[in-house]
């Protein structure tokens, strides 16, 4: 009998090897950019060499060469990473080793090893990316590997491609329900499934905790999603769509930061008026404690682990946003923030480094002398931006030692950070408390899913000035220079030659834009329901089915799995052995078997009726006569008498007399 566990050591056909190479290339390719260049080159070279060797019938590498290559690769990985384990080094090592396996692969057994190695390698991609397209790609690759596995199990020549593909596709399809079941039921631990400690250090683009000229304009090139927002009902008008982030009080003549007040957590008094906007915000990981919110969020209803700091910024009480996070807020665009300004804060908010930007300071002092009120000075400054030839551009010229002076009086070309910074400097020089606030402005509606996407390209900086009786008032000098920026987004405010493609208004219509919206919608769903399927969502979901405890859940999962597998096994069994219908005497005899089995005396499958009767008679002398009689009847009816002479009635009567 051919032993299933034995894998024939037969040589492989050329076609199978070529298929292996194709599948392996598909599995390894996404890893190549993550490898050190020499390793990527080695892997690619081996793949090419093996393909050529298979086609031309070249011999495999000699043993010593393989040993040398393997040791060399090992040492190389160690030299490149300083270790051979961990996410990147470990994956690099097995990727290279999987390629090196090709230098000796010749038997079916090797192919089997390769197939399982590839399955493992496939999963490692999730350590680097859990995006929707990765999952789709991996599913396709898993189908390919399964096809290879079918080939590997088929002795002799390679199967036709169509047969293998259909079988593999069928197998994977049949695995999908099981996959979904395990996905839903598998117990979750808090935190991302695939996140490794090493992964957390990855650099991410986004706002930082200081602002220098050029900091924001750099972000415009990135179409990465900062967060997505779903409003409960009404959507605020574009001019009110300011997403508040960190604000900066200290100016060193060139850049802004939070200064000594960083970490102050005493929230200033805020009076929220009118009707608010309720919304749910899904924030991408930022590696900062900031939670962005529409100006100005209410304290009530904000996440439990968040607080509002002294700049009225919503931040996490501890820790950072390391994984995608969803939270609900209520915001009120009509507000009065900190109507009475503490003296210390007023000092901080009007401080300027004395020697810097003298021309700007002089101009502000001049305004102060002529003005009747603080509000008039604000208007005066905004009028200057509006009336003088200021230009809103992504590529401002470089500024010198006094950037505000250079910008205001010479170049007059700048991005929002230049306007916010110089406006704040002017206000401070005029004695008005002012600070720079960074965050995002605007957003793009996704019509497919009816939500708003705010990207890094929507990053913005504006100012807040403190006016007596009104508290902190938002003043956006960019709006004075380029009102389109606020009303219609950055794409309309900047000359299209400067814009990255994805912001170009000429390209924002038609099918590409539509596709992009659909894709983002799909990604949002994926993030929310697949990657975001953490302990809380699982709890919610399972509670709907009345499963509260994870212990119960494991139990249910085991039970479901067992049932599914046994049902499947039973189905296979039924199909492979067409069940014979028992003949009439045997049907009667089965009753006796069941009765005696309950009494602890089951009949063995290989035990004849006479032997069984003798065994029962020995074990239960009280049954000896009846069981012997019944067995004789059964034997007569089944083996001795011909079909028409047999006496079923007598058999049944004899069987009925056996009463254990």
């Amino acid at each position: 009998m051919p032993n299933a566990a034995q894998v024939p050591r037969a040589a492989l056909s050329r076609l199978v090897v070529l298929r292996l190479l194709a599948v392996q290339t598909a599995v390894l390719a996404p890893h190549l950019p993550r490898l050190p260049p020499w390793a990527a080159a080695l892997v690619a070279m081996i793949l090419v060499w093996r393909t050529a060797a298979t086609l031309r019938g070249w011999p495999m590498l000699a043993g010593w060469m393989r040993v040398l290559l393997t040791l060399g690769a090992f040492v190389g990985i160690y030299a490149s990473f300083g270790r051979v384990s961990g996410q990147t080094a470990g994956v690099a090592l097995i990727t290279v080793m999987a390629a090196l396996k090709l230098t000796e692969l010749k038997s079916r057994r090797d192919l089997m090893v390769m197939v399982f190695l590839l399955y493992f390698l496939l999963v490692t991609h999730f350590l680097f990316s859990q995006a929707l397209w990765t999952a789709a790609y991996l599913l396709a690759a898993a189908t390919l590997i399964t096809a290879l596995l079918i080939d590997a199990n088929h002795p002799g020549a390679a199967l036709p491609l169509r047969v293998v593909a259909v079988m593999a596709g069928g197998l994977v399809l049949r695995a999908v329900p099981l996959m979904a079941l395990i996905f839903v039921l598998f117990p979750r631990i808090p935190g991302p499934i695939w996140g490794l400690p090493a992964d957390a250090g990855a650099a991410r683009s986004g706002l930082s905790d200081s602002m220098a000229p050029g900091a924001i304009s750099e972000l415009v090139g990135s179409d990465a999603v900062a967060f997505r927002v779903r409003f409960d009902a009404a959507v605020p008008p574009p001019a009110a769509r300011y997403w508040r982030g960190p604000s900066f009080l200290r100016f060193d003549g060139r850049s802004w930061d939070s200064g000594s007040r960083a970490g102050a957590i005493d929230a200033p008094a805020a009076e929220l008026r009118g009707t608010g906007y309720g919304y749910e915000l899904t924030l991408e990981p930022t590696r900062t404690p900031w939670l962005f919110a529409l100006d100005l969020p209410a304290r009530q209803g904000s996440p439990d682990d968040a607080l509002i700091n002294a700049d009225y910024q919503l931040v996490l009480a501890r820790g950072e946003v390391r994984e995608r996070r969803r939270y609900r807020l209520q915001s009120y665009p009509d507000y009065r923030l900190q109507p009475s300004l503490p003296g210390a804060l007023r000092t901080l908010a009007t401080a300027l480094p004395g020697a810097s930007n003298p021309r700007a300071q002089a101009l502000a002092r001049q305004w102060r002398a002529a003005a009747v009120s603080d509000a008039a000075i604000v208007d005066r400054a905004l009028r200057m931006f509006r009336e003088q030839p200021f230009h809103y551009t992504l590529s401002p010229p470089l500024l010198g030692r006094d950037p505000v002076d250079a910008f205001l009086f010479e170049t007059r070309r700048g991005f929002c950070e230049h306007y916010a910074s110089s406006f704040a400097v002017l206000m401070r020089a005029a004695g008005i408390p002012a600070r720079v606030v960074t965050g995002y402005q605007g957003g793009e509606r996704n019509a497919i899913g009816d939500y708003w996407i705010v990207r890094q390209s929507d990053a913005h900086a504006w100012t807040e000035v403190w006016l007596a009786g009104r508290g902190w008032v938002r003043v956006d000098p960019t709006a004075a220079v380029a009102p389109e920026r606020i009303e219609r987004g950055i794409g309309s405010a900047i000359d299209s030659t400067e814009l990255p493609d994805f912001l170009n208004p000429a390209l924002r219509n038609g099918y590409r834009f539509d596709l992009r919206a659909r894709w983002d919608w799909l990604n949002a769903r994926w993030n929310q329901w697949v990657l975001g399927y953490g302990p809380e969502l699982q709890d919610d979901f399972l509670r709907r089915f009345g499963i509260g405890e994870w212990r119960e859940m494991i139990l249910v999962m085991t039970a479901l799995l067992t049932l599914t597998l046994s049902a499947f096994g039973l189905l296979l069994l039924r199909r492979s052995t067409p069940r014979q219908r028992d003949d009439a005497p045997t049907r009667a005899w089965r009753r006796l078997q069941r009765r005696l089995a309950r009494a602890g005396l089951p009949q063995l499958a290989s035990e004849g009726a006479a032997d069984y009767a003798a065994r029962v008679a020995a074990a239960r002398p009280d049954l000896a006569s009846t069981i012997t009689a019944a067995a004789q009847r059964y034997i007569a009816a089944r083996y001795v008498d011909s079909d028409d002479s047999r006496d079923l009635r007598a058999l049944k009567a004899a069987i009925a007399r056996v009463r254990p």
């Binding site: 006479a610 034997i635 083996y639």
Partner: protein
Amino acid sequence: MSPTSVPDLQAALAALSTIILGKERPLRLALTCLLARGHLLIEDLPGVGKTTLALALARVFGLHFQRLQFTSDLLPADIIGVSIYDSGAGSFRFHPGPVFSEVVLADEINRASPKTQSALLEAMEERQVTADGTTRALPDPFFVVATQNPGEQVGTYPLPESQLDRFLMRLSLGYPAASAERALLIEPARRDLLAELPPVLSAARLRALQAQVRTVRTAPPLIDYLLALIQATREHRSLRHGLSPRAGLALKHAAQAWALLDGRSGVIPEDVQAVFTAVSGHRLSVAERADAQTVAAEILASVAIP
């Protein structure tokens, strides 16, 4: 229990049991082999009663008995017979050899050369002998009991597998049980008792019984069971190859004979199980480190009765 009950067979078995003590099962199998018109190979040590068994069988059925001691210089003519010129009649006259007996004991068959072995084995299969262009039928019944000593290897020609197939069964008697051995030592010699044993049956009766064996019913579920067993030998891991169709037939005939001996007119699975090891043991080609007996037992235990 059934109209086919055969008291004279039971009497024959009882008579045999007085000669070979404490060996009821081998005796039954030997008798079964005779009833199924098969030949018997006994593989055992010298002195455990092989010759006595053959003699007793011949005696009980009132058959003519010849013993042939196989040696390396035994020639085919020594078995089959030889034509000698009769000067009186002026022609060659055939002197039949020992093979023309109803019961032939071929002692230590593996000592003779393959040529001589095959002369006997051919006679066993064909039940006739061709010498000098004339075909002469062997007596009916014709029953060969061959023995071989498994221990000795030097100077022997072990029977090849194809020849082993000519034997319906292979048995071994083994040492007697303690009580039987005590009786052997105390009572008069078995050969003397044998001489006093009256025939229980006749050759004609034996022929009738042999014919009756072929009429014992094998019901469809029993045929299914035989097929399942044969299939199992072909799929067993420790067997190089399984039972041939001829072996399947042999198994069926032996089971029929066993059923008749039990006084049944239909074969039941237990009958097949009773003869399975004896019939299949020498036909199974066992991979090294396995033993036919164990494999046969394994198969019997694993194949479900349909």
